[in-house]
Amino acid sequence: MIATVLAWKDRLLGRGDAAITVPVFDGALKSNRLIEDATAVATMDAPEDVATDGQTVYVADGARVLRLQHDDLHEVHRCAGHITALACVPGGGFALAIEGKEVRIEGGAHHGRQWSAVGAERFNAVNAISVTQDGRLHVTDGSSTRPHGQWKHDLMSLGRSGRVFELTPADGAGRVLATHLHYAFGACEMDGSVWVSESWRHHVTRVNRARNGSPPTVTDALPGYPSRIVPAQGGGVWLTCFALRTQLVEFVLREHTYRKRMIAEVPPAYWIAPALNSGNTFLEPMQGAQLKMMGIVKPWAPPRSYGLVVRLDEDGLVRYSLHSRYDGKNHGVAAAAECDGKLYLIAMGNRRLLALDIAAAERELLG
């Protein structure tokens, strides 16, 4: 009762949850053009994930696994369905998620091992796999109610059915590490626990925490929707954010009746929702805004897509960030892999594999 009254008061005064504010890009999150200026290695049909074994870079493109060799991509494996997650397994081979409903090992010592459920929990929207040094797999399943391709539906229906699993290829065992997450999208083992991106809560959280007193949250109040996490050379991780939070979307997420009608009546491409790319048609929704430049007020509408990769240190602090800004095209960065001093990124917005020199980026950003 009291909570209802307080919520009503907040809505009336625009406070608390109804304040509808978004964290600002400043400090180490200050924007730059490094993703936009990254080298475009290749343009593909439906790139989804990128992985490396430390020497070679592999890309999941539709149903194919491609190997990057001399700046060219060669098919090394083909599956029956769309690959939604890819990881390289120590000793050779891949761990693949197919259509989000099945995890399979292809090649290597555990070739043919597959999982479609852990106990009673059936896989539904597997979107990321990470491999530990001893060969265990950490698998994130974004939603148990919506398929992988319907992530927008999950956000707009305030989904919180994400899960994290641990799979052991050696014996085929599996266990559930966490459930009821707000779209789990990416995991990585760090400091004895598993860091998991919870996209709709804009933070990275620790699950399976080691008993060393580390707090449950690694980093929070991110200005974007975090996705896959991969280890970085020299400690810490790379965290990709596939879209940016905007006040308009935050507002729509609090307007339940409007949202339900939007889901029922409007095609998903035209929803007021984050997107992997934008500006394709005038039918897309726009947020009215303005900029004052040289004393003149100019109309301006922030688009719904953005490109962002964040470098976190071992404590979860942001060291620096890489951006493709509103005026760029390399948006919707959802996967990263570091190999041979370069960071390879999948920009799903324009279906590109990008590469950028990490040392040069650090020189530019850190001096």
Binding site: R15, V22, G295
Partner: protein, 499 residues
């Protein structure tokens, strides 16, 4: 235009407590001319124009009107000489109506209110000002108050009108009316002095522009000979190594955890949708011109003033939303605000150094110290006097008896005794002697090295560049740019700060 200036200043010098606000400034305003005076904060624009308007007097030099030397001692004297000044903060009587304010000082022995209202209505309409003459001034918005102020100057038949930041509170439509009014004043032969941080407006409206820097005249030229870049260069073109603050910062501290996150903050007309973060272990410098809303933003953070009651945005301290109604709540949460106005808000001038510092501690320990413990006060006072090197005969010396620099150290000690996580220094070296500046900077740097989140609000570019690990530039109520000290130049910062 004739060759005899309507108003001329020759070698104008004015000092405050021995420090020159303007020095040997030559200035000439031609009849029927619109003349803009631009310069950064503290350049001497206000002092120069206040002398013209009789608010303050020259220490040396001459002021001439129509070639005759004059020395107005009061604003009334200046008004009789035909000089009127329209201040940024209006000087209207809030409890009177618009019409009463217009005719204030010109009343007849018997006044018919209806007659005043009709005359005021006709006059305001002739200026195309949409203001109700019967409205009480306290109920008007900033723009309308400004209009009444302008109308009053025109009504008093001033030959020279000085506008101090006249467009800061006007909407685009109101600005257009204002500029039309300025042009019509010019057509009537009135000379106009226009002080503005809005360079585009200065370039658009002026016949000539004068640039002041550090109290000295830099250049006067036709407006057509200027562009934005030339003005900015003239405003800031100083050698950094020659300033009190030395070279720009070379070692930049890495950022720690986000201590403060301000999101879409609003506070009346001063802070507009402002967002920024402050990180532990860094000095965050905040630069902006007067009226950019820097002080107001951080006063809201510290609970000194309140944000908008409805849709005021969010302030998150260590990720937790906070909204303070009194500063004491902020103090208990680890926020210390070192005020820019130490004499009014910083200390009790008749109390001793030790008592002042101890009062800072009591603010933090509300309820845990029901009684003032004199021994503890002495102990705390001695500790901080030694730690901050406050130069005084003893801890029992009254704060008012100290120099400006040592007073500032007492205010800082009063804040630091609260062991804050976030310390906001607002103009920490204003009115402080040269020796104390470096000591205060050392204190600020030490705090950042200890892992505290430190904010330094400063109007002085060399100070911001010398001390900050990151520089935020605020303009028109919000942060518009962030620079690292490595990339920042005075020109870049000033370019972002003016509108």
């Amino acid at each position: 235009m004739t060759s005899t200036p309507a108003l001329e200043m020759r070698k104008a010098t004015k000092k405050y407590v021995g420090v020159p606000a303007i020095e040997d400034v030559d200035f000439a305003l031609l009849p029927g001319e619109i003349h803009s005076i631009v310069g950064e904060n503290g350049a001497g624009k206000s002092t120069l124009t206040k002398i013209m308007a009789g608010v303050v007097q020259l220490d040396s030099g001459q002021m001439l009107i129509d070639g005759q030397e004059v020395r107005p001692l009061t604003p009334n004297d200046a008004q009789k000489l035909g000089v009127a000044m329209v201040f940024q903060e209006t000087t209207l009587v809030p409890t009177m109506t618009v019409a009463q304010n217009l005719f204030l000082g010109q009343e007849k022995f018997f006044n018919r209110l209806r007659g005043i209202y009709i005359a005021a209505q006709q006059f305001l309409q002739s200026l195309q000002f949409d203001v109700d003459p019967t409205a009480q001034v306290s109920l008007l918005g900033a723009a309308k108050k400004q209009m009444v102020e302008i109308a009053r100057a025109v009504l008093h038949k001033a030959k020279i009108i000085i506008f101090d930041e006249p467009t800061a509170s006007l909407t685009p439509e109101e600005k257009k009316y204002f500029f039309d009014l300025v042009y019509s004043l010019k057509a009537r032969g009135v000379s106009v002095i226009f002080i503005s941080h809005a360079l585009e407006e200065a370039l658009q409206v002026s016949d000539r522009i004068t640039v002041l820097r550090d109290g000295r005249h830099v250049v006067t030229d036709e407006a057509s000979q200027f562009d934005r870049a030339r003005i900015v260069q003239a405003m800031v073109g100083r050698d950094l190594s020659q300033t009190l603050y030395g070279q720009r910062k070379k070692q930049i501290r890495p950022q720690g955890k986000r201590v403060l996150s301000v999101q879409n903050l609003r506070m009346a007309a001063m802070v507009k949708n402002n967002s920024l973060s402050v990180f532990a272990g860094q000095v965050t410098g905040v630069f902006g011109l007067v009226g950019s809303g820097r002080t107001e933003t951080f006063k809201v953070v510290a609970g000194v003033i309140k944000r908008d009651f409805m849709h005021g945005g969010e302030v998150l301290l260590h990720g937790r939303p906070v909204r303070y109604f009194v500063p004491a709540s902020g103090v208990r949460d680890g926020i210390a605000y070192v005020t820019e106005d130490r004499k009014v808000e910083g200390f009790f001038e008749t109390k001793s150094i030790a008592d002042n510092i101890y009062l800072g501690l009591l603010a933090k320990l509300r309820g845990k110290r029901p009684l003032f413990r004199r021994s503890e006060s002495a102990e705390v006072g001695e500790h901080w006097i030694k730690r901050l090197n406050v130069r005084a005969i003893g801890k029992d010396v009254k704060a008012i008896e100290l120099s400006g620099g040592n007073q500032q150290k007492v205010v800082i000690a009063k804040a630091l005794v609260q062991e804050p996580d976030l310390i906001i220094f607002d103009e920490p070296t204003r009115g402080v002697d040269v020796g104390a500046i470096s000591e205060i900077h050392a204190i600020i740097n030490r705090l950042a090295d200890e892992g505290k989140a430190v904010v330094v609000i400063s109007s002085y570019l060399p100070e911001v560049m010398a001390i900050s690990d990151r520089i935020l530039v605020q303009r028109m109520g919000k942060v518009v740019e962030e620079y690292s000290p490595a990339e920042a130049t005075e020109e870049k910062i000033m370019y972002a700060a003016i509108h």
